[in-house]
């Protein structure tokens, strides 16, 4: 589609939406948001980009292959789960190493948050893979 409005919007929306998705991802544990929502938000601007400039351009704007995105997301999720074994807990037990730091207190960083990053990557990769595959038809 050759609409200059769409093209310009797609270009400027991309970094903004990505930033917003990271914001959603990180606040997810305490406020509305989370990996699933953030993944969808992150996928949307690339879909828009693909509509405006075509799929090859969108793929190169993404810099990573989609299957790498999905695979690393799954890997992060599984590894986070297995990290619980190291401290002798069952698979996927939440670990909160930053719980009682001196002066800072609860840092709020734990394995579920990292697990959520895995979810984020998978959701983003999956929706883009479906959209790109259909758009390339």
């Amino acid at each position: 589609m050759r609409s200059p409005i769409l093209r310009t919007a797609a270009r400027y929306l991309l970094p903004l939406m990505l930033l917003f998705s990271v914001f959603l991802l990180l606040r997810g544990h305490n406020e509305p948001g989370g990996g699933f929502i953030a993944g969808l938000v992150a996928a949307a601007p690339f879909a828009l980009y693909a509509l405006a400039y075509g799929v090859p351009a969108a793929r190169s704007a993404l810099h990573v292959e989609l299957h790498t995105l999905i695979g690393s997301g799954l890997l992060i999720a599984v590894l986070t789960g297995m990290a619980s074994w190291l401290s002798g807990k069952p698979f996927l037990s939440g670990l909160w190493p930053g719980e009682d730091l001196p002066f800072i207190g609860d840092l709020g960083l734990g394995s579920p948050v990292i697990f959520d990053i895995g979810v984020f990557l998978v959701v983003m990769g999956v929706s883009l893979m479906v959209i790109f595959s259909l758009a390339e038809e």
Binding site: G28, H29, N30, E31, P32, G33, G34, G35, F36, I37, L40, V41, A43, A44, A47, L51, L66, H67, I70, G71, G73, L74, A77, V78, G81, F91, L92, G94, W96, E99, D106, G108, G110, P112, V113, F115, D116, G118, V119, V122, V123, G125, V126, S127, M129, V130, I131, S133, L134, A135, E136, E137
Partner: protein
């Protein structure tokens, strides 16, 4: 002990790469594993003979009460020694038999895998663990039968063996579960302590029948016997090891193991002794009409398994004693005979009895070994099998009921064994030398070592039976019966009725051999009328299943999304409505809750939009209207305080719209494609699904069978999950495993879409 069982699995993985370096020596090197395991197990003989049983336990899945525990008692020890001892000989034998085969490394891997699985089966002290190893033996047997996978017969035989044994294995698993439910544990020793409760339990008979299905398929009892002759498609080392000496005896092992727990009832006696009796007679008959060395051996093996099954069914101390001696003797001589048959095939290129003759001059050593093994098959003194047969006959003559028919059956069995032993010995080695595909000469060391050791041990154990009686047989008998037993074995029992019957069967066997010309043709014709019915039943069943499956698939998988949705929705409506009607009396629906004007207005908007979707002529309009439905639902989520759900719903709507726009581009124009009747059917399904969901929501709103779990999440979200957003804490922490499953499914779905769209065949690409 764990290392002893699991070492095989590790070595199995390493075997192919080892073979790449050591080539011809691999068999000898790999045989070090079974040899050292044999020595390791042999060191336990004094302890176990002293009446102890050792348990080695390691917690595996403690939350389910499953531990990786192995028990070594007399019965397990006997089997473990057989598995390792014969395993070592077979590994060496295979290195000669399959020398130069391109896939030999893989063969060793399968063989060692089998050995480890079989060890696990006989040592497991928990029925679930036993089941796992049991199925592993079926799988390794499948791989080994189908080793020459380029031949269709090998593939078919492998699949047949796998289907029969694993169908039985599944039934057995169900039986174990019933057993565990009625006994309250899966542990064999604990189950043994509750034997009285179990035998009186109402689940006894179903559990017994299911477990017997497993044991009978594995040990090739009638009518499941047919997979074993088929399995002779495997290379001979496999036939010698799996399908004669060890794996087919797993069913015998299981029956023996369970006899103190489930045995002693009428059902046990009639079912097991009956199956054994039919099997032994039927396959003795089939052995008579076989002309292929390996098939003859296969049928006599089934017949012997029938004898062992029958003895376990009888279950008296005498019968169990005879069974143990017979089992040991049989493993030794039948393993030897199979290896001899393989050696003959290896040197001559044929294993048809009619094509062989006069090999005595060409291979004198093999002739001598065959004589020894053949005498064992015919149960001549002073061999171990002679002692076994004497004990067998004595045990049967001691019986109160059914003495005469059972004894007669065993006499028939011995007669056929004598005749078969003579055919196996006389026909290939004596008479005129016949031309064979290969020039026969004495086989190499690796090919005659195994049979020689096995045949000689039959002789040595027969002449000096007291050591084996004390060290192996008594502990095994005690293990089976559950009470300490002292067994003494003697070669010479004096002039007893049993000896008379032995002599009679030898005489009859010789007559049968000499008159083979007379009866052979007639018997083959008789057999054609009924003997292959079990095989035919199997093929008919398999074909019927495949036909049914393909018809069902073509009916359900039409390739039209419309049909899929309709089937799913209709099935859900029917099943849920059925359940609601069945359990209806427990469910009441309270009146509608109060609602505000805003909610009512939103509902009207959603309903109107949904109506537009069904009524519009334009695809784009339909997509937009669906978006309104979705947005309306998101608003409802917001009203009820679920911002996460609303956000997700909104984003999904957005992505869906993008997807639909992309798809719309490819679709033909929206036209009235369906007829009136189809539209009415569609609307019935759609409306009933909608009504059902409404009813379900109303029910869910009113009825609480259990206190809602949401309170737990509310209370613990911050404490345990360190997060104030409960939805997210549930997703990534409380129910993280679910989420893990969901993202895996999502990834697979994406790969599926990718594969469907991108990896089409070139000729499909041109289609619009």
């Amino acid at each position: 002990m764990h290392l002893a069982v699991l070492s095989g699995f590790i070595v199995s993985l390493a075997a192919p790469s080892l073979h790449r370096f050591t080539r011809n020596l691999t068999g000898w090197i790999l045989s070090l594993l079974p040899v050292s395991l044999f020595i390791y197990f042999a060191t336990f003989i004094p302890v176990v003979a002293g009446g102890e049983s050792l348990t080695f336990s390691y917690p595996w899945i403690p939350s389910l009460g499953i531990s990786l525990s192995f028990t070594l008692d007399g019965l397990s020890l006997l089997f473990a020694l057989l598995i390792c001892g014969i395993g070592a000989l077979v590994t060496i034998y295979a290195s000669g038999y399959l020398a130069g085969h391109p896939l030999l490394g893989r063969f060793y891997a399968f063989l060692v895998l089998f050995m480890a699985s079989m060890l696990g089966t006989v040592l497991a002290s928990n029925v679930l663990l036993l089941f796992v190893f049991w199925e592993l033996t079926s799988i390794s047997s499948y791989l080994l039968i189908g080793f020459e996978h380029e031949r269709e017969e090998a593939r078919r035989a492998a699949l047949q063996a796998l289907l029969v044994t694993s169908a039985g294995g599944l039934a057995m698993l169900a039986g174990f579960v019933l057993l565990g439910q009625s006994g309250g544990t899966m542990d064999l020793s604990v189950l043994g302590a509750h034997a009285d409760v179990l035998r009186a339990h109402q689940l006894y008979l179903p559990a017994l029948l299911l477990i017997l299905a497993g044991a009978f398929t594995k040990s090739a009892q009638f009518p499941f016997h047919f997979w074993l002759p088929g399995a002779m498609e495997a290379p001979t080392p496999v036939s010698a090891y799996l399908h004669s000496a060890t794996m087919v005896k797993a069913g015998i092992y299981l029956l023996a193991r369970l006899s103190p727990i489930l045995g002693g009832t009428d059902a046990w006696f009639y079912l097991i002794a009956g199956a054994g009796l039919v099997t032994l007679l039927f396959s003795a008959f089939l052995a008579l009409i076989s002309t292929n060395l390996k098939r003859i051996l296969a049928y006599t093996t089934i017949s012997s398994l029938g004898v062992m099954t029958m003895l376990i069914g009888i279950g008296t101390p005498g019968a169990i004693q005879a069974m143990v001696v017979f089992l040991l003797a049989h493993a030794l001589y039948k393993g030897a005979l199979f290896m001899i048959a393989g050696a003959i095939y290896h040197e001559t290129g044929t294993q048809e009895v009619d094509e062989l003759g006069g090999l005595r001059a060409k291979m004198p050593l093999l002739t001598a070994i065959t004589l020894l093994a053949g005498l064992s098959l015919a149960s001549f003194g002073p061999l171990l099998s002679f002692i076994g047969k004497e004990q067998l006959l004595e045990a049967l003559l001691e019986m109160a009921d059914y003495r005469i028919p059972l004894t007669a059956a065993v006499v028939v069995f011995s007669t056929v064994s004598v005749a078969m032993a003579m055919i196996l010995f006389v026909r290939p080695f004596f008479g005129a030398l016949k031309p064979t595909p290969k020039q026969p000469h004495e086989p190499a060391l690796s090919l005659w070592l195994g049979p020689a050791v096995l045949a000689l041990s039959g002789l040595v154990l027969g002449i000096f039976p007291s050591g084996v009686a004390h060290g192996l047989v008594s502990p095994a008998v005690s293990g089976i019966l559950g009470t300490p037993q002292a067994v003494s074995l003697k070669l010479w029992h004096g002039f007893t009725p049993a000896l008379g019957l032995s002599l009679l069967s030898v005489l009859l066997g010789v007559v049968l051999f000499l008159t083979q010309r007379v009866w052979f043709g007639r018997m083959v014709r008789t057999a054609d009328r009924f003997a292959w019915l079990p095989e035919k039943g199997y093929s008919a069943g398999l074909n019927g299943l495949l036909n049914f499956a393909s018809r069902l698939t073509s009916r359900l998988q039409t390739g039209r999304l419309h049909d899929y949705l309709q089937i799913v929705a209709a099935a859900a409506v029917v099943l849920v409505t059925f359940t609601l009607i069945i359990k209806g009396e427990r469910i009441q629906i309270a009146g509608l809750p109060e609602f505000t004007f805003f909610e009512a207005a939103l509902t009207v908007v959603i309903l109107a939009a949904a109506f537009v979707v069904t009524a519009t002529d334009s695809r784009l309009f339909a997509v937009a209207a669906l978006g309104v439905v979705g947005a309306g639902v998101s608003l409802i989520f917001i009203i009820f305080g679920a911002p996460d759900l609303a956000m997700t719903q909104f984003l999904i709507e957005t992505v869906t719209v993008i997807l639909l726009v992309l798809i719309l581009y490819h679709l033909p124009n929206f036209a009235r494609l369906t007829r009136r009747g189809a539209r009415i059917r569609d609307s019935i399904v759609a409306i009933s699904a909608g009504v059902l969901m409404t009813v379900l929501v109303l029910i869910a709103h009113t009825v609480n069978f259990y206190p809602p779990i949401s309170d737990y999440y509310l209370d613990n979200s911050v404490v345990l999950g360190h997060g104030r957003n409960i939805v997210n804490v549930i997703l990534v922490d409380f129910r993280g495993l679910d989420t893990m499953g969901e993202i895996t499914v999502l990834s697979l779905a994406a790969l599926g879409v990718f594969a469907l769209l991108k990896l089409r065949k070139p000729d499909e690409e041109r289609r619009p």
